[in-house]
Assembly symmetry: none
Homo-oligomer: 125 residues x 4
Amino acid sequence: MLQLDLQSRQPIYEQLIYNLSEMVSLGIFSAEGQLPSVRTLARDLGVNPNTVQKAYQELERRGIIYSVAGKGSFIAANNNAFEILCRQNLEKIRDAVTEGKRTGLSRPQVDEVIDSVYKEDTQHD
Amino acid sequence: MLQLDLQSRQPIYEQLIYNLSEMVSLGIFSAEGQLPSVRTLARDLGVNPNTVQKAYQELERRGIIYSVAGKGSFIAANNNAFEILCRQNLEKIRDAVTEGKRTGLSRPQVDEVIDSVYKEDTQHD
Amino acid sequence: MLQLDLQSRQPIYEQLIYNLSEMVSLGIFSAEGQLPSVRTLARDLGVNPNTVQKAYQELERRGIIYSVAGKGSFIAANNNAFEILCRQNLEKIRDAVTEGKRTGLSRPQVDEVIDSVYKEDTQHD
Amino acid sequence: MLQLDLQSRQPIYEQLIYNLSEMVSLGIFSAEGQLPSVRTLARDLGVNPNTVQKAYQELERRGIIYSVAGKGSFIAANNNAFEILCRQNLEKIRDAVTEGKRTGLSRPQVDEVIDSVYKEDTQHD
DNA sequence: GTGGTCTAGACCACA
DNA sequence: GTGGTCTAGACCACA
């Protein structure tokens, strides 16, 4: 489920933050809203517990999960993982399009890309 | 003209590569197609000459500029800076939209962003 | 009455010690001076009996309560819960004010805070 | 200058965050606003570079300093270290006094403590 | 068992 | 030289 690219220039812990945010946002994770323990996830992914710990702590700082020493890590009740994700993605799209426009991309060229992405969507569903 | 963000996570030499590519693509630079010397540009930008050198070398590798020892660096005659830039930007947009779609963005939400970007464009021109 | 913050960085057993001390100090608890049993309190609070046990042991060490095997835990006759609490709190205030002064807080700024706290007090009584 | 209590329950990196904030707030540090490098400070304090790194990163997140890979760490131009510190300290005082009041401290008792702290102040200046 | 902190030490890209 | 990431492994308090 959780895929890491160890060769990526993006640090592992950032990949973890993003992937876990997405999973929370999509409603994945057990009924009690508990995440795998730091050590368990580290073992499963083949990375060091410190790396998972770093990701969990940032997710806690963002209010998406909370951790209780001695008990475990849990999904925060009123987390806004979904909203954050949407906002971030819209931002990314805006930046990419703004940059593209600035360097000469026409509106139809951009639309063509959007079309092709959402056409894929239809086929998959 | 050439703006660097010294505090950015993106390395300075990469910012240089991108900015210079863009300037070549947009037809900026003197009539003879000569770029500022490594030392001049480094001084003007307040960065290390090694950093500018690294950017020039990469631009030469991409066939966008060429350097003549003792004379300077020049824009390559049939460089494809514009094509590379367009391709890269379309790629970036596709990636951002694909990711956005995957995490729940609807087509109208995406279109709204595109609209707002190209509306700005119209006003500025 | 007894409020725990399960997500707090302060250990639950410390919160228990503090809260129970305060309740003893304020004269709360049944006429015979008996505390709820370890198991009862643990169940009511939804925490591990070991945690309550740890708190009771520390309170006994401080001479605030005493336990009789097979009978239960009771408030000590000449306990100094009130004095301990007062001393601790004055200490805390002194530390906070000393630190504040050291980093630039003026006397009027401090007084303003004190005023606001004791004004609340008046209104509530 | 920078004193750590290695036995304290407060983690080293938190002590570092607090102490460095205070030093920034008080205008300590060289004219160029550069902090000691992660490794230098770690060596001087006898702690691991990772621990200093963690403190620096949190200070960067708070907008008090910024770090540039390859160059060093610097005090942020419009940092609000002083304001943050004042707010935090007033908060601490308020909490302590509120708690004290709730458990029976009278206004005169509190004032006496404040007096004694600010009398010290006068003598020292 | 759990999360949290810390050390020792490595490697990386960058300036 | 600089900051940033990561591993391996230890120890802690707590539940």
